[in-house]
Subunit: 312 residues, 2 copies
């Protein structure tokens, strides 16, 4: 099936992207829906809806830890549910994609304002991995005139910490960079720590591997750790654990490992809420008790229910 | 001065060795003394003693975190103190070097027997960085018929964890390997953790960077962490902090860091005793309260006193 081949090709770079944050990847996934929608004028409405359902499932499968991909697909599928013509599907889908993109960008701007308050002026702060929300918030604070320095580590194996360091430095922020294991040498000098996250549920937040050691170290040293994320990261507890399906080839970590050495390459982990000083969203700085109400509102489209999410 | 040139050349590989443990490096330092001692037959006893003092200081300066280099030099200098002829210096020095080597090897064998008791049969254990004492102890336990699996991480930036993984695997131990930030994904499955150390004083042990996050994570998860080291690692509190002088070029971590990004490359850190389940030495498994008596016995040769240790 021609569409499936095209879909596989479009989704591959998203599956293999280990250095971008979830919000950033969701913005790129919008273009996947747009591409899949083009050239569907000669199909039936049912066929077009099937293509959208396949696209949504393929994106969720590509990055099962990233909640915004689920919400993007879910929003698109609900938006076209009542459409009866191919034209109506196109209109509804494009409107849903535009709305999703706008919400993502609006969220980042509001979160950046909250973060401005949380950055202690003149101090050193820690930032982990790469999150477009964290990067935007810090650059925004600098632009707004606050002076601070940022300490960030590499985030092996994908080294997306270097991407953060480069981006912040090019925005005029003084950056100190080191490898991940040096956490204990540098974190005692930091007054606050920031990270993004890929999904949020009642048990905690899921983020790039390394976030848990950071969280434990922050608690040990009394450094407040904030997770920054729009509410498009909230998912049910059941879906939250989908991140465990995200396993990459060991060769990406060590391509010449000798016989007898099994190499693990898992990219995400759960950080219980108890380690966080706060979850900074566009709805304010939330605590563990606030999460349930966001999660309980979630409605999941039939095509994305977990029982049926295995995309072949 | 010809001798100084030779000394600089002999010490350089020791200074640049970021993947060997302290005991291993001390064994190689023995050959530096032997080389410096050869071709000294035509010198005066005072000149030969000067060469030995220079050699001892150069070795200590090359790896200020590694206590065995200090003890090796200290032992050599005390051994030749009363010698009145070049021949007597040669004999005393060679005897001291041979004794030091024997003691290092004997210590490792006794420590390995203690470790055998500490490895829970059939379980997964964690080992960090590279320590010849840890590697020998685990291989000895396997040879003695105990079955267990070892989880180890890379130990960025020098990746000496791969050296440990390869050595253990070639000795028939099943190894699971991953990157350092994945500590939180794998440590919960481990029943005990082992590391070497470079020096020991009353404030704690100094070991490769990454040991502190490991120690904090072990305590958080209730995994007992043991440091393995012969008593040649004991130093005064003052000398212990010499490890802070060991700073490497940032380019070794990130050779293309953009302007505005300062790259830190520090290799050692202090782990307070409160994080350790025990310090496994050839004198038994010691606790914090036992350390003082070992440290108080230390006698430091004039040439290695800290005031005079800056070697040019």
């Amino acid at each position: 099936m021609e569409n499936i081949t095209e879909l596989t090709e479009l989704v591959a770079p998203i599956r293999d992207d280990l250095t971008s944050g979830a919000a950033e990847i969701a913005l790129r996934a919008i273009t996947v829906f747009q591409s899949m929608l083009s050239d569907t004028d000669n199909l039936s409405p049912g066929q077009v809806k099937d293509i959208l359902a396949h696209t949504a499932r393929a994106l969720v499968d590509a990055q099962p830890a990233m909640a915004p991909l689920f919400h993007l697909g879910n929003t698109v599928l609900f938006s076209v549910k009542e459409a009866r013509t191919v034209l109506a599907i196109h209109e509804a889908c494009n409107e849903a994609l535009a709305r999703f993109e706008r919400q993502l960008c609006d969220s980042v701007a509001i979160i950046a304002d909250h973060v401005w308050e949380l950055i202690p002026a003149g101090e050193l702060i820690f930032a982990y991995s790469f999150s477009s929300t964290v990067a935007s918030s810090l650059l925004h604070a600098r632009t707004k005139g606050k002076y601070f320095r940022v300490l960030c580590t590499e985030s092996r194996p994908s080294m997306e910490g270097r991407k953060l360091a480069s981006m912040l430095a090019s925005g005029g922020i003084e950056v100190i960079h080191t490898f991940d294991t040096a956490l204990g040498l540098v974190l005692p000098n930091c007054r606050a720590a920031f990270m993004g996250c890929d999904c949020i549920g009642t048990p905690g937040v899921v983020n790039k591997v390394g976030s848990w050691p950071l969280a434990v170290a922050c608690r040990e040293l009394g450094v407040p750790l904030y997770a920054l994320a729009g509410t498009e990261k909230f998912v049910t507890a059941e879906r939250l654990f989908e991140f465990e399906r995200h396993e990459r080839p060991g060769e990406e970590v060590w391509d010449t490992a000798p016989a007898g050495v099994k190499v693990l390459n898992r990219q995400f982990e759960l950080i219980p809420f108890s380690y966080l000083a706060g979850l900074v969203t566009e709805e304010g700085i939330l605590q563990e008790k606030d999460v349930e109400q966001f999660v309980s509102r979630l409605e999941v489209h039939e095509a994305l229910k977990l029982e049926g999410s295995s995309f072949v």
